[in-house]
Symmetry: C2
Subunit: 113 residues, 2 copies
């Protein structure tokens, strides 16, 4: 899937991943790929700038650590980040409900029971 379509929701996804525990950029990329079943395969050039943006905004806190001689920047959700995530979640719900009203009520094939 084009992450292009994410536009504006990428930040929310990153926060959501970090909600489950602090991680470094590379691991976040893999987490997104894994949790989405391979659908979300975002390039580093998308993730790293986004993380720095979130850091500048105070939603995540980054700390350097060295693992096997390799420098890692581990990002952790801040309080503000948690609050922002809650807002993003609410926003996503409204957004998906609204768009879903036009593009199909988000009723997947479903196997409804």
């Amino acid at each position: 899937m084009r992450a292009q379509a994410l536009h504006g929701h990428l930040d929310a996804l990153l926060l959501a991943v970090l909600e489950q525990g602090a991680q470094h950029g590379y691991a976040i990329i893999e987490a997104l790929r894994a949790r989405s079943g391979g659908t979300l395969d975002l390039p580093t050039g998308t993730i790293y700038p986004a993380l720095r943006r979130l850091e500048r905004a105070g939603l995540v806190a980054g700390t350097w650590s060295t693992v096997n001689g390799r420098e890692r920047r581990t990002y952790q959700l801040t309080d503000a980040g948690s609050r922002a995530l809650a807002g993003e979640r609410a926003g996503w719900r409204e957004f998906s409900a609204t768009v879903g009203r036009f593009l199909g009520p988000a009723e997947p094939p479903a196997t409804p029971a």
Copy 2:
């Protein structure tokens, strides 16, 4: 709601509105506002260029008509537009399912029983 978040889905919304019958730009804006319960209130500067883009792409066909001395451009879904809409719908479903996996499975606050 910021239509900014639409990014890439606006075309799909327009096609979806036109699916229910040909309409002119101004009416489309009102249809979006009405059907979304007021959530989607898109400015003309967003809709009109988008419609022309869709027209250039051959997804809608526009025809001029004069009503009460006022010029109207009525847009109608083309075959290609219908097909595109189907694709957009599928794309939306995948997209919302994927993002929903991270931001909450579309489970609203719910008052859980």
